[in-house]
Structures are given as structure tokens and as C-alpha cells.
Amino acid sequence: MTAGEETRRAVERVARQSYGKLLAFLAARTRDLAAAEDALADAFTCALAAWPEQGAPRSPEAWLLATAKRRAIDTDRRRRTRDGAVDPLLLLAEELHAAAEATTEIPDDRLRLMFACAHPAIDPAARAPLILQTVLGFDAGAIASAFLTAPAAMRQRLVRAKRKIRDAGIPFRVPDRDELGERLDAVLDAIYAAFAEGWTDPAGTLVRRRDLADEAIWLGRLVLALLPDEPEALGLVALMLHAEARRPARRDALGGYVPLAEQDPQHWQAALIEEGEALLRRASAMGRIGRFQLEAAVQSAHAARRHTGRIDWRAILTLYDALLAETGSPVVAINRAVALGEIEGPDAGLAALDRLAGDRRLGDYQPYWAARAGLLARTADDGAADAAYERAIGLEPDPAVRRFLAERRAGLAAAAVVKPRSDA
């Protein structure tokens, strides 16, 4: 390895470990994320030039901060001579100076940064991308591809959000107790959105999207480290760990889709499940139930199959009842209908789905049609099952899932030929 390469790696390592921390520290004082990003980017560029000659400094974080500070002062000078206005960067430089003198430990402001990014005044669609960019240092292009958005549109969205934080005076602070719950939900939602984007690529073929699931878990753990007594944060991390544990089982050897109920528990990652279970136990001991804990508990009930060999649908139904009461989400209602179908038979499940039929959002929602098709396939109404499968296939973006649904649909016809129909 050449010296240049070695430096590059050292810088990358520091960038990965410290980027968010340094940026949070810089931006929390001025609320100007874009200026802090520029100063930090300059500092990293300087590191690439200086470290091969001088060797990597003993405290890379302090070195980078000092350099960012110098850069900020330079920029500030240039700007002040240009328009004569008082610049927040001066404040930044002073603060940095004070911090460099007073402490050796750089305070961890990443949680405060996340609360700013997920502030209710920020466009919900920008929150998760903004957290990924500022806390993890993802570039806009990578975020755009992870969220299947055009890079220019994503860049715009991020620029606008940063400008709003600066110009509207959105604070970098952990909210007070009385509003923490609601505000934390927004942070957790953003982390979960990042995870879900990574999760939709089940085979992990798009490395970037799989990384997103890993990074979301990392962010969740960070929230836990800084707010250890929030049951919903524990619930979110438990939920993500459970889902991640099943990644290897979601595809068979040929790349075919395997639904949860048919996955081989041998292929689940036991260590992740155990960790998720432990977090969920800690959360439930706190006695404040919430959406993420309930969702994690559903995952936990499915995971129990690895010991019991069966799925406890009654327990799952109870959890979905509670989730439905909590969220009113039609997605939860679909899952609840499926669980009901497992306990009381397909007609009961279908009746529950029928009650949702008025919700227009579900017309183009694949899981609704897949659930319907699965339930109808167990009744005598093959025609309706066939139509529902067709609709689900038409709405599904993942080719492996499309193949799976097409096989089930073909099985419908085969079964009809083989077995005599009771209603025929």
C-alpha cells in the first residue's frame, strides 16, 4: 500500500466514525448545516494533502475541527469584506476556538442534529435523507439512488431543508420531556424509512440499499446510546434487528421469494434475534407501549417459530388489534385480516378486508391484493382469486415476488383441475 493510499484509508476511517459528530458540533452552534458541511469538506481535503507528509495526527478529530475552524474564519473574512454583514461563521469560529481551548473531548451533538433534521417544520420526505446526509455523510447522489429519486430532485430537497433549518431558526436541541415523545417519533420514523428503503432490496443485490439497512440500525443504536430509557427507540431497534435477521431466509437457493411463514428458521440469524428480544424485554419493562414495540413484538412472535415449530396466530392477532388501535393504519388492518384468516378461516379474513375496500389508497397497494388473493385461494372462488393475483402481480415491482405470485396463481388452476370442487 502506498503512503497516499494509506492516508486515504485513514481519512475514510475518520470520516466514517467522526463525520456526523464533527458536523453536528459545527452546525449546532450556527444552525447553518451547509456552511458547516463546506468547512468540514475543506478540512477533509486538507487532511488528504497534509497527512501523508506529516503523518496522521494523534487526534484526527481535533485536527479536523481545528482545520475546519480555520477554514470557517477564512470564509468568514472573505464574506465580510464582500457584503459587510455580520456572519454566523464568525460566531462559529469563536465557539470553536472556545471549545478547542476548553475541552479535549468533542461533545456529541448528533442526537440534537437528528432532532433538527426531523423537526415537524421540515418536509417529511426530506427528514430521512437529511439525517443520512448529515449524520452519516452520504452524498446526495447515493441518497437519491437509495430512495429511487432523481439526484437533482433529491439535491434540491436537501438544499431546501438545510436552508429552512438556518432561516427559520430550527433549534438543535433534544426537546423537553413534554414534547419528546412526539418529536422522537419523527426521528424514529425517519430512521425506519431509511431502513425500509434498504429492506426493499431483499437479496441485497444493490449494495447501497443494503448498506442503508445497516446504517439505519447503526443510527437506531446511536439513539439508544444517547436516550437509553425510551421504549419506542428500543422497539425500533428490536424491529429492525428482527427483520435483518431474516434477510438470508427471504430468498431460496435459486433466488426465489420465500414468504415469512414458509422460511426455514435455520436460515435466520440467531444472534440478531436474541439481541432484538433482549431490547424488547427491556422496553416492555418500562410500561409505555407504542407502535414500534408492537411491531417488534409481532416479529418476535414469528421468530418464536424457531423453538415451537408453529406460528401463534392468536398472539399475532392480539398484537395487530393493539397496533390498529394505536395507528389506525390500513396496512396494519391488512395484516390483521391475514392473521384473522389463519384463525377463523378465509371467509373471516376476507370479511375484514372487505371492510377496508372503501379506502382508496388500497386500490394500488400490492399487499392488499396479495392478501386478498391468498385468502380467496383457500375458498372455492378461483375466479376471484385469479383476478386478485393478477392485480397483485401487476402492482409488484420486485421480479422475484412477481414470479412467486405467478406460481401461486398457476397452482390455482392446477388444483381446480385435480380436485373435484364442492360447489361444482
Partner: protein
């Protein structure tokens, strides 16, 4: 930072209010403004005459055009404003939430651009 709180409410609904209701709202505004002054957040604030008194001016091709009526016909109308000086958006939002007008309509919170 300075913020402007723009108070929007339905004028028609307000006109239908009884005298007692009007007095109640007025009392709430007086208490609110007083609390704002005492905390040091208050900079300015006024109620506006109804939007039926509004006149809109535009200059096009060097000629001013005067139109009878408000800038935009909306279900809720701008009925008053406050200017406050507080540390950040959260503080501004908590003042907005306490405004009596928030109960009957909506408040738009806008940071004032420093010049």
C-alpha cells in the same frame, strides 16, 4: 430571531359571534399580549380591519392598478399579526400555539429576514 405570527381566521364565522363571545376572545387576546410583553418576546402586534376593507395595488408597465378586495380570496383571512423576538422556531411555535386565534383558525409563523 424575529418572527411574524400571521393570524388567519374565518371572518364570516367571527361576525356571527355573540357579544359575550367577542368579549371572551378579546379578554383572551389581552391576556396573551400581556404575557408576551412580560416574557420580553413582544415586538409589535395589531388586529386588522376585515378583508372587505382591503385594497390591492399592482404596478404593471409603469401603471398602477388598484383592485378592490384582498390579494387572494380564501376561506380564512388574515386578521392580525404579532412580531416576536425569541431564540428559535420552537419558541415561536409555542407562542403561536398559545394565541387565541389558533383556536378558531390557523397561525402562519414566518421568520423575519434580517437586512
Amino acid at each position: 430571531m424575529r418572527y411574524m405570527l400571521l393570524i388567519y381566521q374565518n371572518e364570516a364565522a367571527r361576525q356571527g359571534a355573540s357579544e359575550r363571545q367577542m368579549a371572551e376572545v378579546m379578554g383572551a387576546y389581552i391576556a396573551y399580549t400581556k404575557a408576551m410583553r412580560e416574557s420580553g418576546a413582544y415586538v409589535a402586534g395589531d388586529p386588522l380591519q376585515p378583508s372587505s376593507t382591503a385594497t390591492t395595488v399592482r404596478v404593471a408597465d409603469g401603471r398602477s392598478k388598484v383592485l378592490n378586495g384582498p390579494y387572494a380570496e380564501t376561506k380564512e383571512q388574515l386578521g392580525g399579526y404579532y412580531i416576536i423576538d425569541v431564540p428559535d422556531l420552537d419558541a415561536a411555535l409555542s407562542w403561536a400555539a398559545r394565541c387565541p386565534g389558533a383556536q378558531y383558525g390557523a397561525l402562519e409563523v414566518r421568520p423575519i429576514r434580517p437586512l
